[in-house]
Amino acid sequence: MSTLNTAVAQEMDKSDEAELPAGESRPAETVIEEGATVGAPYADDPKFKLRDVEVFYGEDRAIKNISLDIARNEVIAFIGPSGCGKSTFLRCLNRMNDSIDICRVKGSLQLDDQDLYDPKRDVVELRARVGMVFQKPNPFPKSIYDNVAYGPRIHGLANRKSDLDDIVESSLRKAGLWEEVKDRLDATATGMSGGQQQRLCIARAIAVSPEVVLMDEPCSALDPIATAKVEELIAELSESYTIVIVTHSMQQAARVSHRTAYFHLGHLVEVNDTNKVFTSPEHELTESYITGRFG
């Protein structure tokens, strides 16, 4: 067990308390029954079928018995206070937690009826199917072209240069970036604006034709205009991809998602139609959170 990872895990646990404003405390009286998610957590013919999922960091149980279906071509938003487990849960979906030594995942997690955590499963292939976009834009220090071409190259998706050109162009078009960068594909990606870099990362994620795109607070480092462009993009991408988005912006969840899942202290408290969650949520904790009563 590496000390760095232990430290990271401890910080993650602490962040729950650390981000509370002075003098505020979580409501103590609401008892959450484990695994008792209210609303509509299940779907017919789901893309992901997740049952009794638990995630441990060492001894600490960060995810407590969560069952959820994620439907095909739906946009589902994960919301909840810091440290509630939404990012941890998201990272289970393409096994990003594998890189944390002390992290253990239990339960049944299926992608298209196949076990995600099958030891024989090729994780690189899984991550091509389930792509990810992170909070901070993280382009490679390479040209715009190479950033998008990187995935298709290592996965051998293009045999000829012209095929690769096509993939780069169509990915940049889907990400709404083509018109802005078509004349400077050789320019270094790190010289782009934050919003452009994030859309480049989305183009990079979709260049390998994933089935699912996971987004971990994709707009938190972007200005409102860049955010609007990314949200526009999410709406377009949802026609062909399943999208799971973690966001701290409730308005964003309300705008872009079909269903919203509310996480609280490692529990999945409520999953419902986004329209319902933001007008009349079923669970009082969901209500308290989205109306800004605790945070």
């Binding site: 505020e24 933001f278 007008t279 009349s280 209500e287 989205i290 109306t291 605790f294 945070g295």
Partner: protein, 240 residues
């Protein structure tokens, strides 16, 4: 202003947001109180043939209109600043709708006041005032109870008001028949009876607006829209 700690809209992390919602509720109840008194005074002016009081009611309606504009502005600013959700959103949206109802009740009171002036100038023995007094009492208590249900977030009381509205409609029909009989008895009664009929019609509309307010209270509390549904459906929403 009620103590915000005891108020379900008063426990946000942002105290400023609490204050804004409190202010919205307080202003709404002030407007409600003003409108209640307008109806009461208009009916009194009619029954007492008090032209002066009726004139006061007519002039006061402008103040009610101003309250409507101020409340709409306050609600708009809350939406712009806070992007309210869930019960906060339902409060703001309901207030916007209920304010429109209150303003219309104010208009009905003004209408009654105008008819009171006309009837007092004609100065003949009252006919149909028993019915006016009866229906007025009924709709005034509905309006009062609707505002009370709003204050206490009492969806059961709101449901009772919805049921009352049916009875007011029946009473209105019965009163209209009575007035029709007076008109048939003596054609000289027609003009006068028609004025009283308009008063009854205005009062019946006040009952409708009280009922709309009650429906909005149910939406605020239960999160379900019971407009244009049956009483049984509203009962399910409130009971379940």
């Amino acid at each position: 202003m009620p103590d915000r700690k005891d108020d379900v809209y008063g426990d946000h992390i942002s105290h400023k947001f609490n204050d804004e919602l409190m202010e919205l509720k307080t202003q709404f109840l002030e407007m409600g109180g003003a409108v209640e008194s307008q109806v009461e005074r208009a009916v009194k002016a009619l029954i007492d043939s008090d032209g002066e009081l009726a004139e006061q009611v007519r002039l006061k309606d402008k103040e009610v209109d101003k309250q409507e504009v101020a409340l709409d502005e306050e609600a708009t600013l809350i939406i712009a600043r806070r992007q309210p959700t869930a019960r906060d959103l339902r409060l703001v949206i309901s207030v916007i709708k209920m304010v429109a109802d209150l303003e219309r009740v104010g208009d009905e009171a003004k209408k009654i006041a105008k008819l009171a002036i006309k009837l007092s100038e004609e100065g003949q023995a009252p006919r149909g005032y028993v019915e006016v007094r009866h229906i007025a009492g009924h709709v005034q208590s509905m309006l009062h109870d609707a505002l009370d249900a709003f204050t206490r977030l009492d969806s059961e009381q709101a449901l009772r008001i919805m049921k009352e509205d049916k009875r007011v409609d029946e009473e209105y029909q019965a009163a209209a028949r009575t007035l029709l009989t007076f008109m048939m008895e003596d054609t000289r009664n027609i003009s006068r009876c028609m004025s009283v009929m308009w008063v009854l019609r205005a009062l019946e509309r006040v009952g409708d607006h009280a009922c709309n307010i009650a429906e909005n209270v149910i939406f605020m509390v239960e999160g379900e829209d019971v407009r244009h549904t049956s009483i049984e459906e509203a009962e399910r929403v409130v009971g379940g």
